[in-house]
């Protein structure tokens, strides 16, 4: 018997030698992938993610127990799922989450009253990691594992669409925001005649941003030559769509568009686009790149001596961190403004004005206000309002019906799904702003266009980019 084991050992030793040798080859390849993948991710996410070191644990569970005093009975806990990109290339959209979630924890400390019954509220926050696969996965786990009653989601079609699709397929009410409504609705094969059963969206649309950009551009004398950098993603394809996007209305307004075609996200060389813009004499640049791509484009444009008078950029220039990343080159960039401290709205949950909310954020985080604060807050306003009005919190259809019947004045304005451009879409108003050297922080976002919402005071008109 001992001899047999001896034979086995020799065999094993041989096998081990072989596998060890092969292993070194394979481990090399594995190391390569393991080493490169984070580098690739870092190229995209590093810039935006870097200031996020104080970002929350990606999963925040805030449970509140109602301090019921007399009167209403106590109901079961209501669970609200919340999905945002807290890490990765889109991290800017989740920057305000820690603050907003802490505010909500305070607000829901006494529970939520639904038809005389007080329910504790539990918020389950999940990170999409800026990855559509992960967004669908966490949405599925919120719906199936956590059994949430309602899902809230925000931050670009790459986040809202997979989450909304998962909710629609599983019959769970979902409210989304911070993605133009066209990529959310048409990008999910929405049928304007039928709409969706479980998923609702509030934000502005392409028609609004086109109006804002055109109005801003009319404030500066240019040759009306527009260069477009539209990426090959949900937003870029919607913006560049010949019928539904920018090209048709811009042409009608007398502008000439130079569109070098869709480029993949995380492109590291924009020389082709820049030289085409230079040769066509482009004076206005517009587009919807992700933040790292705009930094690349604009830096290379400066190196190659391309100096347009106007750069009106969606998505990439929303956040102070992205503008600061450009250094001195950030001065004069313009962007759409969905929410600012000067918006004349107050929260239905806390009674704070937009200005109070932004000030509270700066006090709590020592950071400059950022547009998602208002919309993240408003998502909870709309969600809490719908839950509190629902006829039966144990019936998901009743919650969806309550969402559909919403008419609520929130910190981002009135939200109602009555009379939207397509079913399930509610619109908010849009104004335009320009980044200018600031007082407390390197750059301030100054409102320069307010046609849609005249109650938002402007701080001047659009200046041509310095040095152009």
């Amino acid at each position: 018997m001992e001899k047999q084991t001896g034979g086995g050992d020799r065999y094993d030793a041989l096998v081990e030698r072989i596998t060890r040798r092969n292993f070194i080859k394979i481990a090399g390849a594995a190391g390569l992938v393991a080493g490169l993948a984070p580098v690739l991710a870092a190229c995209g996410g590093g810039e935006e993610a870097a200031p996020e070191t104080t970002a929350p644990a990606t999963e925040t569970v805030a449970t509140t127990t109602p301090a019921t005093t007399g009167g209403g009975a106590t109901g079961r806990p209501l669970k609200i799922g919340y999905v945002t990109p807290q890490t990765g290339a889109l991290a800017g959209f989740g920057e305000a989450d820690t603050f907003v979630l802490a505010e909500m924890e305070k607000r829901f400390a006494d529970g939520l009253d639904v038809g005389g019954t007080t329910h504790p509220v539990e918020i389950v926050a999940r990170d999409s990691e800026s990855d559509p696969n992960r967004a669908a996965e966490v949405a599925g786990s919120l719906v199936l594992d956590d059994g949430v009653d309602l899902v809230l989601v925000e931050g670009t079609p790459e986040t809202t669409n997979p989450v909304s699709d998962t909710c629609e397929a599983n019959g769970v009410p979902c409210i989304s925001s911070v993605a133009p409504w066209q990529p959310w609705f048409f990008g999910r094969n929405g049928d304007p005649a039928a709409g969706f059963q479980w998923t609702y969206h509030f934000f502005w649309g392409l028609e609004d941003i086109i109006a804002v950009f055109l109005s801003m551009w009319s404030q500066v004398e240019t040759n009306k030559m527009v260069g477009a950098i539209w990426p090959n993603d949900g937003d870029g394809n919607a913006w560049g769509d010949p019928e539904l996007g920018f090209p048709k209305p811009l042409t009608e307004a007398g502008y000439t568009i130079t569109d070098p075609g869709r480029y993949p996200n995380l492109t590291d060389d924009f020389s082709a686009q820049i030289s085409e813009f230079k040769s066509k004499g482009v004076e206005i640049v517009t587009g919807v790149p992700i933040p790292p791509d705009w930094t690349t484009f604009w830096t290379q444009a400066a190196q190659q001596g391309f100096k347009p008078k106007i750069a009106s950029i969606g998505k990439a220039l929303l956040f102070p961190a992205s503008v600061e990343a450009l250094g001195e080159l950030g001065d004069g960039m313009s962007t759409e403004v969905w929410w600012s401290p000067t918006h004349p709205f107050t929260s239905s949950l806390t009674g704070q004005s937009a200005g109070d909310l932004a000030a509270a954020y700066t006090t709590a985080t020592q950071r400059q206000w950022t547009q998602p604060i208002g919309f993240a807050h408003a998502l909870f306003e709309v969600g809490a309002d719908a839950l509190s009005r629902s006829a039966d919190v144990d019936d998901k259809a009743a919650i969806a019906a309550a969402i559909a019947a919403t008419s609520l004045d929130t910190v981002v304005g009135n939200i109602t799904w009555e009379g939207g451009p397509v079913p399930n879409v509610a619109k908010t108003k849009l104004v335009g702003g320009q980044w200018s050297p600031g007082t407390d922080f390197p750059y301030d976002l100054v409102i320069v266009e307010n046609a849609a919402l005249p109650d938002v005071p402007t701080g001047g008109t659009l200046r041509p980019i310095p040095g152009s």
Partner: protein, 339 residues
């Protein structure tokens, strides 16, 4: 010489393993009748990742094909599901199967390109080819382009039907991958693969048809990864080209196989279990979760270069899937009688 040397394949452990395997498979097949939808969803993810890892194990651990481009077939499976389900209009479950076959079919021309390269060049070459498929998907507006598509045919299915069907397909992919690798290794092809693994030139000089053996393995791996990809997106419902063709799929496969033990059938099973335990425990910690995954990989590589299963194998001489041949000497008394 009546006391002949004998060749033994099965062991007590492997016979017990076979019984346990059949029992586990039966238990898994009944999951939709008693488990919660959330648990089923987790199992779908685990079984599809097991299928992917097992395919990579077959490629790298047995055929010496270190591919970093298997995400190509995951993406092809995803888009195959969309194409057959939404564009052609067949039932999504059938579409998933067709997507697997389409991936296998595309593996043949892919191999024609990739097999011109060897070693490290092959690894990078497969990655480049996967990027080509990615760019094709991104630039084909018929398939949704860079914006991605919703798998409407699957989303329209009744919820219970979709969940149960997806689960059984995932089980077929996961268990099928294990059985497939086992069957391949027990076959004549398996013998050829073992020879190739040990020394390609020597194997060829002994008459092993290298190209044929590798091609069969590569196409089988394409089939497995394609089917797994289709099932993954039956579960996720939304396909975005950057996500469907992400190199992360291959990184997961490599992680699981290296952690569990390359060149063993048990390894990827152990690796998948470890990966999911780590993910469920740590994914709430954001970036630290990725740091922990990397740390685990480094520790396992240094402490147990053959993977976790190699520790078990060495300590207990345990083999649940008998693919090797063992030489048994005749019992001792017999040998004494025949000096």
């Amino acid at each position: 010489m009546s006391g002949e040397l004998t060749v033994v394949r099965a062991t007590t452990a492997s016979r017990l393993g076979a019984v346990a395997g059949v029992a586990a498979l039966t238990a898994l097949a009944t999951v939709p009748f008693w488990a919660s939808a959330g648990d089923m969803r987790l199992l779908v993810e685990a079984l599809t990742l097991l299928a992917l890892a097992q395919m990579w194990n077959l490629l790298a651990g047995y055929a010496g094909l270190v591919s970093i481009g298997q995400q190509a077939f995951v993406g092809i499976g995803a888009y195959g599901l969309y194409y057959f389900g939404d564009k052609v209009g067949v039932h999504p479950f059938l579409a998933a199967g067709l997507a697997g076959l389409a991936a296998a079919a595309l593996a043949i021309p892919t191999a024609g390109l990739a097999f011109r390269l060897r070693g490290g060049y092959f690894a990078i070459g497969t990655w480049v080819i996967a990027e080509v498929y990615h760019l094709l998907a991104v630039n084909t507006s018929y398939l949704g382009g860079g914006s991605g598509v919703t798998v409407g045919s699957a989303a329209a299915l009744e919820r219970g039907t979709r969940e149960d069907g997806t689960y059984w397909l995932a089980l077929a992919a996961g268990a099928g991958a294990v059985i497939l690798v086992y069957a391949v290794l027990r076959s004549r092809l398996g013998l050829a693969l073992t020879a190739i693994r040990d020394n390609e030139e020597a194997a060829e000089s002994l008459g092993v048809d290298l190209v044929r053996a590798k091609l069969v393995v590569y196409v089988l791996a394409g089939l497995g990864c394609g089917l797994a990809g289709a099932v993954i997106y039956l579960n996720l419902l939304r396909i975005q080209p950057d996500a469907a063709f992400t190199v992360n799929w291959t990184a997961y496969m490599i992680f699981i196989v290296v952690i569990g033990g390359i060149g063993t059938i048990e390894g990827p099973i152990v690796g998948t279990a470890v990966f999911f335990v780590l993910r469920e425990l740590l994914s709430g910690y954001g970036t630290w979760y990725l740091v922990a995954l990397g740390g685990v990989a480094v520790v396992v590589m240094l402490a147990a270069p053959g993977g976790l299963w190699s520790l078990v194998q060495r300590r207990f001489d345990l083999r649940l899937f008998p693919v090797q041949r063992r030489l048994r000497l005749p019992p001792a008394p017999e040998r004494e009688a025949n000096p």
